[in-house]
Symmetry: D2
Subunit: 350 residues, 4 copies
Amino acid sequence: MIVVMAKDSAQVDLDEVRRRIENRPGLQPQVFHGVERIVVGVLGSIPPDLKDEMELLPGVLEVVPISKPYKLASREFHPDNSVVMVGDVAIGGSEPVVMAGPCSVEDEEQMVTTARAVKAAGARILRGGAFKPRTSPYSFRGMGIEGLKLLQLAKQETGLPIITEVMAPGDVDTVAQYADILQIGTRNMQNYMLLDEVGRTNKPVMVKRGFAAPYEEWLLAAEYVMSWGNRQVMLCERGIRSFEHYTRFTLDVAAIPVIQRLSHLPILADPSHSTGKWHLVTPVALAAIAAGAHGLLVEVHPNPDLAKCDGPQSLTFQNFSSMMDQVRAVVAAVQREPVSVPSPAHRRGR
Amino acid sequence: MIVVMAKDSAQVDLDEVRRRIENRPGLQPQVFHGVERIVVGVLGSIPPDLKDEMELLPGVLEVVPISKPYKLASREFHPDNSVVMVGDVAIGGSEPVVMAGPCSVEDEEQMVTTARAVKAAGARILRGGAFKPRTSPYSFRGMGIEGLKLLQLAKQETGLPIITEVMAPGDVDTVAQYADILQIGTRNMQNYMLLDEVGRTNKPVMVKRGFAAPYEEWLLAAEYVMSWGNRQVMLCERGIRSFEHYTRFTLDVAAIPVIQRLSHLPILADPSHSTGKWHLVTPVALAAIAAGAHGLLVEVHPNPDLAKCDGPQSLTFQNFSSMMDQVRAVVAAVQREPVSVPSPAHRRGR
Amino acid sequence: MIVVMAKDSAQVDLDEVRRRIENRPGLQPQVFHGVERIVVGVLGSIPPDLKDEMELLPGVLEVVPISKPYKLASREFHPDNSVVMVGDVAIGGSEPVVMAGPCSVEDEEQMVTTARAVKAAGARILRGGAFKPRTSPYSFRGMGIEGLKLLQLAKQETGLPIITEVMAPGDVDTVAQYADILQIGTRNMQNYMLLDEVGRTNKPVMVKRGFAAPYEEWLLAAEYVMSWGNRQVMLCERGIRSFEHYTRFTLDVAAIPVIQRLSHLPILADPSHSTGKWHLVTPVALAAIAAGAHGLLVEVHPNPDLAKCDGPQSLTFQNFSSMMDQVRAVVAAVQREPVSVPSPAHRRGR
Amino acid sequence: MIVVMAKDSAQVDLDEVRRRIENRPGLQPQVFHGVERIVVGVLGSIPPDLKDEMELLPGVLEVVPISKPYKLASREFHPDNSVVMVGDVAIGGSEPVVMAGPCSVEDEEQMVTTARAVKAAGARILRGGAFKPRTSPYSFRGMGIEGLKLLQLAKQETGLPIITEVMAPGDVDTVAQYADILQIGTRNMQNYMLLDEVGRTNKPVMVKRGFAAPYEEWLLAAEYVMSWGNRQVMLCERGIRSFEHYTRFTLDVAAIPVIQRLSHLPILADPSHSTGKWHLVTPVALAAIAAGAHGLLVEVHPNPDLAKCDGPQSLTFQNFSSMMDQVRAVVAAVQREPVSVPSPAHRRGR
């Protein structure tokens, strides 16, 4: 950590900064008098509250953290890519995994026909919402446990593992009985008690990016889950809120290679929620794959204009099948990085 | 609702739009052939899923909602200002209410001295966090129930009612035993199960704005609470996430008069979390009051540089007392709007 | 245009709205009394100032434009893709065009070796800045006319046409003598006098997206150029400003298919400025191509760590050559849309 | 400047960083081996291109600037507030200055009656646009030189000095003949050639904040003007682009005290353009004054519903007069900071 002080700071203020640092076990200050600033380097393992303490001491202009606040999720901690196994499906390996299905579970026929269609087109995981976060209290909020049972039925019919969202700490145990992957939605990315609770399970967890979350806060959300011992965490870029409202959100495609540099966790992309329009889903899906995503989360519905939610962004079976053909072609075209990404310190070719 | 179609839409597409509208009980389409577009007006009480259904019909370019999706929270539904009573403190009336106290409850002495100091300076409600949402799992997360008990103690000593955050549906009953106002934090503004749960209590609720929430989603969060019958809801602008990172968030001061136009609920402001720097708290607090805020939420700590959280943005007792003097002066200077704000349709002076 | 009025508007207010519309040549109001609102449809060709006039009449809650404010740039006006020819290079056709070169022109050797290297790797257009917009007045601002001459020299050596930025109306004639494509930078996207001036030339123009410009304002900037009769306009997505600062900007990859739906103009992408980091350039470039971009604008430098600007985001010759191999593979994999994109009203497959 | 390197960086990489720093005249590296990072402090006066150079050396993870990139505009360079004199009006002193008038100059009667009305209500400067930046090429773009002449006429009638926008470097001399303050609009804040040109005049300049400009880029725009020797610069917060679109822009009220801390230049606010709605102008104006703004820029029109631009946000004479009464009351209520703001290093009260 670097503490930046005004050049004309009083000696008493500099002494106080030094004293506070020395008071902490294992920390040592190193002071440099620059042309425009006094800079105090803090050597040692920095406790998380030190930044706050330093920031409000007299004479201090700025405190610059040097280490990352997340550890378990960082590539420095774990240089090789993590691969999360869901049954025999490997997420985070060299082959992208497509998870597809309806926004919400509606009835048995819908789930089973969709499961069969997406499996036939190449999806490896079935998605479907039983507990639905909805902006308005007057919208359909999902079938709850009945929905989970229909998901299980579709799994039995097709063998596809299930990913589904859990929204409350008290529901985690129940959802975990049915789901193969627990999904944390964008609006719950900083619902810390929910993160704690899924961290206590032994189920794979997908942490969707909060729509206003910088990379660091997103990785800290993963860190919450991992800090309980659950290391089967994957991330999903699903679009951030920007000033542009033609699309529902703005998919940050650079997040894919950035996360691969900062973290060892698998990173997927959701072209459906980010765009909000079915005709944008395929180009954005291809973009994510070309950028190196470990997978996709895509909404598919047998009859989008009758869907109980997210109809405008849902693909028909035919749309999805066509998208999958193109996804396969792009996967074949792009040189996938080897499992261990080069360290940030690697040299570039000349 | 207005459905906009391409001028060259096929007759079959126009007929389908018409048919879908007529299928809904009580709805009727009205079709106009404009120069560049066909416009279909939908008359009647619009169900929330109709927009999605219309959007993906062939020929449809855009669907424009005309009514607001929130009802109970809207000023149209309830033209006069709502006043929320907390003991004998009226929130939403002509006199702004200041709620002050530490970010987190730390010990008895801290709470009691702070409660006395903020009361002496003119605060009417005591704030303090027992359950703390923290970005990092390695930060101090609050004292939990012990913290609630210390808040109660400080209330007994000073008579100040308590506002404190509740973070999980399962904690609502417990927190409600100690708190006079249940606070929904910015990261939980779309934690719908938590909103449901506080809606089922009979306690006043403060809904802080999600840091990436447009006004409409914020008012819909209030609507969640109100839809369970709990009408004692107040709102708090606490800063939105923008590209500017010198401050932690960007306080949207215009939100105060906007919310007063859209809604009858009291609207407060939090200058501490929005700025993240103690020396910005007073000017931003005065701005909020001058813009018409019904109150403030301010962090105060006996010794900010030892605070377990949010030290950099906490005021000392002396800072707070000085801020309160200026707040009173601005309150006296500004002509407060009468309890019933003029309708959006009022004429302006010439 | 739709004028939305309060249900309880006074008759005099409704009459005034009606009168104002009828006062405009060729316009007619159509009034509907809905359950919650009065809606007035305005039929005819809407003048641009009518929205402002309507918005402040008593009783009016909202005015919703139905037509797009841009015409020449819109796909409705011109259903087939536009192809801009630069010498024998077709931009906007089925084959993406890569434009590459250094951020700024520095000397003859740098320009000529770079031009040869990028040509060998498959670039079709040479980029290089002679007039450089720099955030700080103390940074290198380009070689000016001397830089233009070096660009011309590199063109003579390699045959590659030149794209270069013009920053002031008074420089347009001079720059147009040397450049094959005039580039409008992101900070000048709403420098209307500059847009006018390039509109008066007969040179192809690339309009980079302003980093806080919604699609509509971007297309209106293109409309400025086109309104002077210059139809050789292409667009370039180069990243928008978001809350995420790990990358310099956030490349909005969905902009590519969105612009192809709204407009007939070619749309390229700039992975260098959007990311600001060389190691993110290739994945983001591939994403843009997979999403359907008509080309790329990439910074390449013989020795990035000695570059006078933008070194951190510049590719070496070897990096660029490797990127081009992958670009070609993705181009081959993706089914390019035919020249005429299906209209927004087309049906989706079932 | 701080160069952060990976702990496991090769010795050759560390040596290269050191060598590059030592190559620069007057610079010296200081190396520290921390627990998780190697940190290299660079002592001396840092050239602006060093950051770029360091960032792409092998082993370098991050480069953290410690000094501010602007000098002339910074409070460190000039601890006391700057006061810009326009005739006998002092901008930046203890009394806020209100500048008011129509969005665009339309005719003599409009200008003269408005000038008289705003003067009577207490405005000290007359605003009016002769050259208008408009999003659409089809909107009214101002009267040009004829407009400047009408502004001059209104000045002769009332004695009010004039502020008006200049949009192109080639127009600066002409506009400077008529204007007392040259206004740089938000869309031109990074039109560097325009900044250069107004810097070469001896006229006061108002630099409006670019709607996506962080404080640092805004102050660097002021630095451009000042670097030519023109020190009569003032700043104006006019709203930033956020995800919220109910208002045209989001006024960042905290910018006022922040700028006063970072810079010695006067800081004003524009409640008209930021909100886009006349009924929000007064509360936002009062907020800016309460936060310490040195003045306001407000749009006033004799008949807003006939205004050629910005009618919806323009105040009538009566609205403006009422706003001014409240502004005076708030000014009287707020303790204005003394001319010299306490340094960032000052102690806070206990």
